[in-house]
Symmetry: C2
Subunit: 244 residues, 2 copies
Amino acid sequence: MKLLLLSNSSAPGRGYLDHAREVIAGHLAGVRELLFVPYALADHDGYTAKVAAFMDGLGVRVRGVHTAGDPRALVSGAQAVFIGGGNSFRLLKSLQERGLVTAIAQRVREDGVPYMGSSAGTNMACPTLRTTNDMPIVQPASFDALGLVPFQINPHYLDPDPASAHMGETREERLTQFLEENDVPVLGLREGTWLRRTGEALELGGVASGARLFTAGAEPVEYAPGADLSRLLTATARFDHRTA
Amino acid sequence: MKLLLLSNSSAPGRGYLDHAREVIAGHLAGVRELLFVPYALADHDGYTAKVAAFMDGLGVRVRGVHTAGDPRALVSGAQAVFIGGGNSFRLLKSLQERGLVTAIAQRVREDGVPYMGSSAGTNMACPTLRTTNDMPIVQPASFDALGLVPFQINPHYLDPDPASAHMGETREERLTQFLEENDVPVLGLREGTWLRRTGEALELGGVASGARLFTAGAEPVEYAPGADLSRLLTATARFDHRTA
């Protein structure tokens, strides 16, 4: 399996995906046409054009999955798949309604087609939607996602701000609540970082701030870019363990 | 119907619920025992004790709904109901599994029992969970909530921070995404504010920053404490209008 899972698509002062240009070029080496999944945003054509403009610089053509009557046929023939960010509930519901959850997962898992996700597209690679930061603006039939890794990822991971007067939960508090209900590791990917999976190897990349791993019953652990996280690929996920 | 819907339960430098002491006292006037619903947090006993300590100062006894074999029986006999904040997905799932969504809504709607909510408990008073800020740590059977008001509320409403380098969506962007999919007004209740419904009258209360109303196809509108929002009680909610 070949995965590139980005925390986010934009870095301050940089163009769309520009902060990850090099790793994207490596991930898509040899790919002439990329199948893009724009369902996380409302404007599918506009979103696809934005991705096409970036990919043009890498010599990769882009086709939007929404442009076909049968999107599953496009998935069957895809050389590589990219699911973009936006609202992950809208995204998952759209994938479910079109039969694309299984179709894309099979193509990546069984045929080795490279998968790339950013933000909500990275959430999709997890077993479930349960560690998204997004608002549940629509109701998917289920929270089950593609399951290309056996653990959960929290994109845009944000450290607590001691200066904030906001009384809502911090991200760490939210993930602690997740671990009260689920015995499943969660990797908080700070902005500017990504994960690369090649077969049974998993490596952290990107900016120095790296990632923070949350596990039930243990203190969180920090990882720096270059860290080998392959052992997460053998993690056992027990959802709803408190009520199970 | 008598509703008191608080944006949040704690203000900086104040004790639990202390910022709303006066309005809570008015809302619960004549109530000797309050039924508390602690399911949004994992520690039901600890949470109930915290509420009891505050209510003791108002001369109101507190019983946790989790202390009965049949929680619905407690709802039938309740003089007033308070649903506390925490994770709204966990809360809604717990209410659904115990048949409490309908039981509490009926008691409030038909018997005029005062309902109070804070944060996730305020989300529960809306038609659906769709404008919560919480992480979907567990999967409820449905996003449908108590529907004690016909519009959506976003508690802990937070204005965009121009100084932030965080590339995730702002709250306003999230609510704009909600309005792309649903033609339903959303009231963003800033921290320290609340809504009071008495019959067909709805009034905003609390701190000067007030609330911000988001409606599909219109610019957001600001409201200050004391504003009469009764017309929101006749709002028509059209969920999933884009795909309907």
